[in-house]
Structure formats: C-alpha cells, structure tokens
Assembly symmetry: C2
C-alpha cells in the first residue's frame, strides 16, 4: 500500500491522542527511536507512536487504521535486524512494550500465558523462584511477541526447538480489529488449520499478537559449560555431527571462528587460542552432565581438538563462555565506526562444511573483514561483514558474496534465513527461495486476511509482487 | 460446493479414462471401496477413481476438475476415522497409493524424501538396513501423505512429536493444478509464511501433497518395553506426571483401562490383571534404558503400582505389549456386530485425571459399553463407545456424552481432536472450539487458495459456514 492520505492520518492521530493521551506521541525523537531495529541501515520513522495497554486498545487502533487506510507497524524491543520494524510507508507504530504482564503460569502443564511485550529476560525473572524457565535465547532481550513474529531461535534450538515450536496458542488482533484466538493448551491438536504456525513468522503482516501461550521447562538440576579449540573448521563440524549422531543431547553447541576469537581477545583483553572454537553446554542430572562431557571430550579429541575445558560452577561457566556471549560487540569493535551486515544461512548439516568453506574463500578473495559465529548443530551460521559506510563498492562486494552464499544454500535445499526473517532486507531472496507460484500463494493469504494491506506494509514480499 | 453437473463429470471421466487407461475406474465395487475410511458410518462413493503415478498427472487431474467444477478427494490408505476420504459430494477420488516411492534418503541430515503413497511400514522396510527409522506410529499402516494431512501422531508423540513436527518440506498440487514447493531441508527457517504447517492438518482441503520430506532418526541401540497395573486411574496419571517431571524420557507411555484389559483377556485368551495399566517404552543405550526402567519402577511403585515388568528382548517385548497392540480389535470384539465411535479428547496434562473421571461417570450412569486407551503423556485419550446400529437412542446418548466430554475439554483449553482430525464427523466441534471469527479466518484461507471449492468439499467446515 502507499503512504496514508494526510487527512486520514490526521483523523487517526486526533482519535488516538484523544483516546490514549500521553500514550500517543508525535515527538520527533520518539519517532526516530521507532524508525529502525538493530543492524539495518535505513531509518524510516512512523508518523505517530502509540503504547496500548490492552487488547481492546489494539483492536480499536487496528479498526481505525483499517478504516482510514493507514499503515500499522508493530514494535517490540526493536531488536530485529532486517528492518522488520521500520515504518517504510509511515503510519502508526504500535509499541507493545507496555503490555508486559505474565498472565498465567501452569507449571504442571509446562506453559505460561504472556502479553506480547514481555521480554525473555522478564519472563525468566518472573519464573525465577518457580523451578521453571523459558530457554529460547536469540541473544537480544527481545519481546516474546517479536520472537514469535520472526520465528526466532538462537543458541538452544538444538535442544528446545525454535520459537515456532514453543508457542502453543495466540490471541491476535486482525487488520479489521477483530480479536481471534487460535491453538490450545493441549500437547497436540488436529482441529482445523494450524493458525498459530501461520502467525508465527509472519512478521506482523497478518495480525498483531496480543497474548501468547508459550512452553516453559523445568530448570535442570545441573548446567555445565565447556569450550574447546580445533585445528580447523571442518574438524569442528565433524565433531559436532558425531556428538549428535552418538545420541548426546547438548543444550547448546556453538561455533566461533578464529577471526572472531581474535576480536574477543582484543575486545575483552583475553588470551584465548585464536582457533576455530566450539562452545558446548549440557544440562540435566549431575551424573548425566559429567558423562556427556566425558563422551563429548573423547569425540572431540578424536577430531584433533584440545581437551574440553568445562565446569558446572556458574561463575566459571560465564567465564568460559565469555567470548561467545560478547562475540557480537567484539566483532563490531574490529572496525570502529563501520557498519555491519550479518548473513543468516542455514543448510542441511551435511552441507555445512562446504557452505562455510566457500564463504571463507569468497571473503578472503575479496580481502574483506568478516567474523563468524554459528549455531552449528542446526546448520545455521552468521558471517558478520564489516564495511565502511562511505564505501559503496565495499558494500556491493559484500552484497554479491552474501547473494552467492544464499544461492549455494538454496541449491542444497537450505534457507536464506535461519532465524532473522525477511523484513525489508531479504525480500528478493524470498522469491529466489520459493519461486513465483509459492510466493503468490503467500500473497493470496496476505490479501485474504489484510485486504487493505495496512499491516506492516512493504515487508517480506518483493516490491514487484 | 454442490455436486458436479452431469455433463462436466462426463467430460472429466472421458478425459481421465483416455489419459490413464486402466488407472481410471468407474467399477461399482471400486467406487464402494473408496467411499469411506475406517470407523465412520456413512459411505459416500465417488463417481470415478484414478491412480496417478506422477506429480504431472495429479496436476492435470486438479486443473481438469477445477475447470469443470468437479470435487476432488485425495485417498491414501483409507485409514482415517472421521470421514475424511468420503466423497460426500461425489466427484473424482484420487488414490495416491501408486505414488509409493522413497525418492531420497539423507542419513546424515536425518531426512527422507517420499511420495505421498509410501506407508509408514513401507518406509521402515525401506530403511531397515540403514540404521535409521521413521518412528511416528498412529497404529494403522497409514500413508505418509494421509498422516501429514490429518496431523497424525500416536504412541511415540511424547518423544518424537507429531507428524506436523516431522515434516520439513512439501511439494503440493494446488486446486488449479499449479505445483508449488514449500519448506526446506534446513533444521529451521524464518523465510516467509510457514506453508508446510498450513498443509499439514488441512485434510486435503487446500492442496494435494505429491512429495514430502520427513524426519528420520537413528535406530536406538536398545529398546525396552514394560507393563504395570495400577490400583486406579488417578494413580497411573500421577505416576506418568512424575515420570515426566523427573526428566525421564519414555519413547511411549500408554494407558489401557480395566474394561479394555478385560476385553484383551477375552479376545486373546490372556490372564492379565483387569486393572488400569500403563505400558512404557524406553530407548537408547542399554545402560540408559536400564537406569530409566529402574527409576520409573520406583516412581510407579510409589504410586501404588505392582512392580514394573519389562524386557529388552524383542519377542518378550511384543508379548508384554500384546494387549496394547490389539486393544482396538479386542474392544470391537466386546460386542460383535455393533458399531464403534471413538472420542479423541486431548487436554492439558493437569486436567487429564478429571477429564477421564467425568467421562467414566457419564458412561456408567448411561449404562453404556465403552473401553478406553490413552496416549497419557500427551493428555490424549480415546473412549471406544460400542453401540447397536439399530438403536438410535443409544447412539444419541453416546453423542450427548461425547459432546459433553468435548465441552469440558474446551473449557480447560484442550481440543476436540488430538490426532484424528475434523473430517465430516467433528465439523460442528470446530466451530465450538474456535468460535465464528477464527472459523471465518480459516474459511477465508480456504477460499483464497481454492476459490471454486473443489478440494475435499464438505470437509472440516460446518455446513452453515
């Protein structure tokens, strides 16, 4: 849809400021704060920001925007990285951060009902004394509404699955303001179309999530974290494959490349081996954790690794994983003042070694600065490319390499995005990945549910669709 | 949609018999064979049955039916139980049983590409010497296309998840004959709407699956099966809850009630205790299996159970689980010549004890014959009601009890169907479960993708929608 008509926008802003008072703002710095997420270069401010506190308010806002044909963009923590929250056609930004209540907790059923603005750290703070926790960890302290909307995952996916597998029911406000519920609290259901999985990953283009029921888990008795450098990347991947095939169940198994390890050494004044490194976590009973580390160590040394250093002590665990936890900022610090672009390739595990090796060849041939981390058990890795924002040639080179990486991933039936989503940044890749017919099927779903195209317009679909 | 116009039907049958030769039939006994699945009373024969052998043929058939407005009903093994394969508006029955090839197997990635007519036993026979297997087990030897389409699950869901969680990519023929692909072979993806999960559970109303990529798993080193009678149902459920909360990971944990145990004794000339009984399976390393049985036994005896009898020997395992494996036929044999109706309630685990207790009270008060089995770790159980087909009053009483069971399940955010689907038999329950607005959202998706309503017409949506 195009931008709203000025008179429509005026009507909407008048209504909302009257209804919401101070929870409606056209202040320029507020608009700027809501013009972008993280790591996406463009800033697109909305015309107005509102902070609803109830489903009824969200419903009113949607119905109003729909009647006036004004774009409506949902905003959580602003931690998405592909421009998902940019108001590229202006309109109303609906900031859900004040809908941040945990509504119900059912320990016996392993689920929890939350408002969309609850963050994952907020939920875990709430659960602290209950023996339960919410394990999905994309790094950023995202809101659960946002995590559901981008099908976020992160370091624990290998054990707990993605956000899509951990959301069981939703309340959603549709484009026309209707409020619907889908899903159940039962462990499974064959009743009708699985609408929960349609909204999960729709990036706010099909509805606004106003309540979510998510899975929570018993906090494990013991958590052990370890770290282990390898002579090269291939050996690290082979070790991960064997760890998994042997039936060990790491709760996290992360890869950091030698460039990123060097960045961490400089950023945090450490002296870790600047080698491809695996970070491993096992959870469960003390005996189970010890046994799994023993077996993992054996497997890893069989692939040429140094002995696995590990601990179940919390302070020591944090120390051992320090490099992994701070990799993002360490990587950015390699070139102060430069921008970064992260790839999000995910391929079948059998294709991972080649995928990374070819990426590295391209990076070296072009003489670029790039560091790598990977959720290697999922076949998912991020290359953080750094570039001088003044240097258009450098940016184009990176885009070319990224594009070639995606082409190769698609050739082995992988995906252009494992966990970051499409947003504005990968719209053309969506067409490349699925082709015109599949894309038109997605578009027809969008048109059926949001006929005026007010919900997060411009997102996920290529502009010529 | 209504039935096809006679002249349209003639055109379709002429075209298909010319193109497919003997793989197109209007033979009356063939039509009758394709008029129903299992356990659904009505028989609705199609006007013609075809057996395509390629995606191109399926595409041609769909395009032809769409142009002529002729209903198109997909048929696999005919093992669905809610009338999903009944041709309630006549038309073309597309029998996919000759598309039964396993196309690719990727052991390292844990996936397998199959045609829709491959059965789960067929797939496991194919995988026999590879060290891999396909664990999803709904009981019947269903086709994978059918299992995906009803979001089937069964006894192993507690460990491996449902069919929806074990299908990663699809090729689908749409109503107008277009062939689309969705999903990837990567472990996760955030690229666009998750169309795989839309087709999974759509019961053939949105497209015809012509190829599926499903997860396969390494065959466990050791499998142990055990059995254990309890003094009452509540104690058995409490034991299951504790087994799960303790972190034990049964691959199956099944409940059979005392009525069904009695039926098994009579049907197979056994002398098992006629008590509520749990059937448990653990898999993995030998030491792990032994340790888990030891802990499970301790927990169960703590809830008043007899000592857990178990074995890892294959013949002995089959013996121990004989009652569970034959429960369906044993139950039917309680009243030879009578019909049966199965409920498929699934509730949050915290609500399971009450749900079953209230069902039993209703059954006893009405003096009905009914036996029970349950995938108790999932909160899913089936009451098999037996009734005299001549006795309308008896059938109405059963329908009333079933309806009350569903109402109570919905009140605790459970579902009217855990794994059997909606078909013809539960259409009104779909509305009850989700309400008009959610139902209309499902309908608008159906209309967007199948505007002429040719795909499995009459299914899942209440007739007044």
């Amino acid at each position: 849809m195009p931008r709203a008509q000025p008179e429509s926008l005026t009507r909407v802003i008048d209504d909302l400021s009257q209804r919401l008072g101070k929870r409606c703002s056209v202040n320029r710095s507020i608009l700027e704060q809501h013009s972008h997420g993280e790591d996406y270069a463009a800033h697109d401010p909305p015309d107005v920001v509102v902070w609803p506190v109830s489903t009824e308010e969200v419903s009113h806002i949607a119905a109003l925007c729909n009647a006036q044909r004004v774009p409506l963009v949902a905003f959580g923590a602003g931690s998405s990285v592909e421009g998902q929250v940019n108001a590229s056609q202006g309109g109303v930004c609906i900031d859900l951060s004040r809908m941040d209540q945990v509504l119900e907790m059912h320990a016996e059923d392993g689920d929890c009902v939350v408002q969309p603005g609850v963050t994952r750290e907020g939920l875990n703070a709430y659960l602290r004394d209950t023996g339960m926790y919410f394990p999905i960890d994309p790094g950023a302290n995202a809101t659960l509404g946002g995590m559901i909307s981008t099908r976020a995952s992160g370091t624990t996916t290998i054990f707990y699955g993605t956000m899509a597998q951990n959301v069981v029911a939703l309340e959603v406000v549709l484009a026309d303001g209707r409020v619907i519920r889908c899903g159940t609290r039962a462990r499974k259901s064959s009743a009708g179309y699985d609408l929960v999985r349609v909204f999960a990953g729709a990036e706010g283009t099909l509805g606004i999530i106003t309540e979510a029921t998510v899975r929570i888990y018993g906090r494990p008795e013991t958590v052990g974290a370890g770290v282990c450098p390898f002579p090269d990347f291939h050996k690290a991947v082979d070790a991960v494959t064997e760890v998994i095939q042997t039936g060990l169940k790491p709760t996290r198994i992360e890869f950091v490349d030698e460039v990123m390890m060097g960045a961490c050494n400089r950023y945090m004044h450490l002296s870790l081996p600047e080698k491809p490194t695996l970070f491993v976590e096992f959870s469960g009973s003390r005996a189970g954790v010890e046994e799994q580390f023993r077996l993992a160590d054996e497997i890893m040394q069989g692939h040429g690794a140094a002995p696995l250093e590990w601990s179940t002590d919390e302070a020591r665990r944090t120390e051992l994983w320090k490099a992994r936890h701070n990799a993002y900022h360490a990587g950015r610090a390699l070139r102060p003042g430069w921008e970064s672009i992260s790839t999000d390739i995910c391929v079948p595990i059998s294709a991972l070694s080649d995928s990374v090796a070819q990426a590295r060849r391209d990076i070296q041939a072009a003489g670029l600065t790039a560091a790598m981390v990977g959720h290697v058990g999922d076949g998912n890795y991020h290359v953080m490319f750094l570039f001088d924002p003044q240097d258009d040639g450098q940016r184009r080179t990176i885009e070319g390499i990224n594009s070639a990486m995606i082409d190769r991933a698609l050739a082995v039936q992988g995906t252009c995005t494992g966990e970051h989503g499409i947003g504005l940044g990968r719209r053309d890749k969506l067409r490349k990945q699925f082709g015109d017919d599949t894309l038109s099927l997605m578009c027809s779903l969008k048109r059926a549910w949001d006929p005026n195209g007010i919900l997060n317009p411009g997102k996920i679909f290529p502009q010529t669709t």
